[in-house]
């Protein structure tokens, strides 16, 4: 047992932190978000160059063979800069499931490009009326798929699209078939799309006889949730940084507001909640990586805890900031939006507490 980072993890985190500070400061985040499509190719190329697209992919397909834990280490640093990038989704929602459940041919065909950052992947799950990403999807599977999927991240730049159907995961490649992506009007941290599939050409992920089923989808969503939690933890840390800076600099009634206990203790509450979420995320990632039998319990514990905790963090940050935090001239909103997106999409599922209840022995 050791909750400190290994030298390798430390180096990865330091490198990522330095990269984010240098290449993606808040001005750049704003510029990317304001741009058409919200995707920055030079930034993507730079991250691909560092090998981050293939961080957790098998060495034989061009990856570095590291695990989910390393992805969360990276994710935390990206979140700290609110970096808008398909990197984490491409890894967790597409590349990893292909590595886990793809046929040898699919792995050989798709993973090298995903690992090198020459292609981008994503996953379509949600449908109209669904209130839980882990819920039952109704789009029928098959070699031709039609239906509507919502809140698909980065669908407009994806080369590979996994689709959760009622009969398992299916694979679409932009090179072979087309899909229609309409940008959502969302209060979110990343570009989200409504994807309409009309008789789209697909193949099952894995072999046609044994296509990847809902258990793979759940594993994908669990992994993505934990990676996204780490990203949210980074964003929460940035909220705390901004709050502490504001509290130290802003003078009211003749002294910095950080000297008021009510303000200082709010910052401490943030510190406690962020640290709690952080170690829950790392523990869950560690177990997922090992396919440990405790993994589902630890994922659900992390998400169950994070739901209220991260919301309290951003609300506290806004309270410390006063009106200025609500203005988009402050950087705070960059992080608030990401935390909200995480909370709503991944952490608010009522499935997790219920699973955790079962895991802890409630009959």
């Amino acid at each position: 047992m050791d909750l400190t980072w290994s030298d390798e993890q430390e180096m990865l985190a330091d490198a990522a932190a330095a990269f984010v500070r240098r290449e993606c400061p808040p001005e750049r985040v704003r510029a990317i978000e304001a741009s058409d499509g919200g995707h920055d190719q030079p930034l993507w190329d730079a991250m691909a160059e560092l090998g981050w697209c293939g961080l957790a992919l098998p060495v034989e397909h061009g990856g570095s063979g590291r695990g989910v834990l390393e992805v969360t280490v990276l994710a935390e640093q990206l979140g700290r800069g609110a970096v808008p990038s398909p990197l984490l989704d491409s890894t967790a929602l597409a590349a990893l499931p292909i590595a886990w459940a793809g046929s040898d041919a699919q792995r050989a065909r798709l993973l090298p490009a995903l690992a090198a950052g020459r292609s981008i992947g994503t996953l379509a799950v949600l449908e109209p009326g669904m209130t839980d990403a882990w819920g039952d999807v109704s789009v029928p599977g098959g070699t031709r798929i039609s239906g509507q999927k919502l809140l698909v991240p980065w669908a407009h730049v994806a080369d590979v699209l996994l689709v959760a159907s009622s009969s398992g995961l299916y694979l679409l490649e932009a090179a072979r078939t087309a899909w229609d992506s309409v940008s959502h009007d969302a209060f979110a941290g990343e570009p989200l799309f409504a994807v309409t599939l009309l008789d789209a050409c697909t193949e099952p992920l894995g072999s046609p006889e044994r296509p990847a089923g809902p258990e793979t989808t759940h594993r994908v969503l669990d992994t993505a949730a934990v990676v996204r939690l780490a990203y949210a933890v980074g964003a929460a840390e940035a909220c705390l940084d901004l709050a502490v800076r504001h509290a130290s600099q802003r003078v009211q009634f003749g002294r910095p507001i950080g000297t008021f206990q009510a303000v200082a203790h709010r910052c401490v509450d943030m510190r406690v909640e962020i640290d709690a979420c952080r170690y829950l995320a790392f523990q869950a990632a560690w177990s997922l990586e090992r396919e440990d039998r405790a993994a589902p319990l630890e994922v659900t514990a992390a998400l169950t805890y994070a739901r209220g905790a991260l919301r309290r963090v951003f609300l506290d940050a806004h309270q410390v900031h006063g009106a200025s935090g609500f203005s988009t001239e402050s950087d705070l909103h960059l992080f608030t939006r990401r935390l909200t997106e995480f909370e709503i999409t991944f952490a608010s599922s009522r499935r997790h507490p219920d699973l955790l209840a079962t895991a802890m022995g409630l009959s």
Binding site: A186, F187, A188, G322, G325, S327, E329, S349
Partner: protein, 388 residues
């Protein structure tokens, strides 16, 4: 103690709802939604209210109002706020700028400024906060120097809503003299927003554009007869104004309305059978009840001629927490699609919950931060000692 609703007030509520049902356009989503139709609609709506003598319902007859009871006013304020305040910027005229003029204005000022407000024809904004003077309002730096027959105003105001509506007039707070106690020497001015030297810069917010503005005053000439009340005694006006304002918004009524829509959604999506959903929505309903009663306690005092400073702060502290909680519970109920805003065709409840959630992220900050409200209750309500 009597919890029965006056039948006349109940009828008035029905009448108001009928007017709202017949008047509010489908696209109405309140202010700050980047819809160019919003401000013109609020003007039209105010004129419609004025035609029924409901605009200045709360004002005394001597100032052209209907002199309605505190309870009738409460009905109006609940229905307005529940409908996302279709009076737009003008609710400020009615709730506290007008009343301040009645109390502190000269006969000439009252004759000049009140009638256009009563007709629903004028937009006022409020120039209080400054970049370095937020909750510590008394540290404001905007200066007004008396030069012959006018004041010359220099300074910057921030978080000024509606200045780019555009506002016609501004209720401006500025330091007109240096004084030993920093609460002295502050004066209130009535400033024509078309005066040369005023520039308005919109500040975008998380809820959308146009919510806030920064307003800069450079050697702005304000005629001497546009000083409101006594020079240097402006702090007293501010305190009175804040009390008027705190009771002026029925925040719980909006929360209750959103909660009604959540009930509908829970029924339609089948989530109403989940005991967790039932319990959570019930807790919020109970909290709405509490918020309404805390507001009614303040109204009861008003109805007896007491200024409910502490009671209004208590109601406000409670209601702001409620508003945030309804937003969060709503998003949890809607699930991932709750991220979608009004502009998205597949947004559940047309994005209403999302809008309520975002708008209430800073709800504890507006009109005196939560901390300041708590200080009022701590000192005036509980008699706790003041920090030295």
């Amino acid at each position: 103690m009597d919890f029965a609703v006056d039948p006349a007030d109940a009828r008035f509520r029905d009448d108001l709802r009928a007017l709202l049902d017949g008047t509010l356009p489908d696209w109405w989503r309140g202010m700050f939604v980047d819809d160019p139709r919003a401000i013109p609609f609020t003007r039209e709506f105010c004129r419609a209210l004025a035609a029924r003598e409901w605009l200045t319902l709360a004002w005394p007859a001597e100032h052209g109002g209907a002199g309605a009871s505190a309870w009738t006013q409460a009905v109006l304020r609940e229905e307005m706020w529940a409908a996302e305040e279709p009076r737009g910027p003008q609710y400020m005229n009615l709730n506290y700028i007008g009343p301040l003029l009645m109390r502190y204005g000269t006969p000439t000022q009252r004759a000049r400024f009140l009638p256009p407000m009563a007709r629903g024809e004028v937009i006022w904004c409020q120039g209080f906060s400054e970049p370095d003077a937020g909750s510590d309002l008394a540290s404001l730096r905007t200066r007004a120097r008396l030069v012959e027959d006018h004041f010359l105003v220099d300074g910057t105001k921030i978080w000024t809503s509606y200045a780019d509506a555009p506002a016609d007039w501004c209720l401006l707070l500025a330091r007109s003299e240096l004084a030993a106690d920093r609460h002295d020497g502050i004066s209130v001015f009535l400033v024509d927003m078309t005066t040369p030297g005023i520039s308005v810069r919109p500040i975008d917010t998380m809820a959308g554009p146009h919510e806030f503005n920064e307003v800069t005053f450079e050697s702005v000439a304000v005629p001497r007869d546009c000083l409101l009340g006594e020079a240097g005694r402006g702090w007293e006006l501010v305190a009175a104004g804040l009390t008027f304002e705190r009771v002026g918004i029925a925040r719980y009524a909006r929360a209750a309305r959103v909660l009604e829509h959540l009930v509908t959604h829970a029924n339609e999506s089948g989530q109403s059978r989940d005991p967790r959903v039932r319990a959570r929505l019930a807790e919020l309903r109970a909290s709405c009840e509490a918020a309404r009663l805390l507001a009614y306690r303040a109204v009861s005092l008003q109805a007896r001629g007491v200024v409910p400073t502490v009671e209004a702060s208590i109601a406000r502290i409670h209601a702001t927490r409620l508003e945030q909680e309804v937003g969060h519970a709503g998003l949890e109920l809607l699930g991932p699609l709750g991220l979608l805003r009004s502009g998205d065709p597949v947004a559940p409840l047309a994005g209403e919950v999302q809008r309520h959630f975002v708008r209430n992220i800073p709800t504890t900050v507006a009109a005196g931060t939560l901390e300041i409200q708590k200080n009022i209750v701590a000192r005036r309500g509980l008699g706790l000692p003041r920090e030295t």
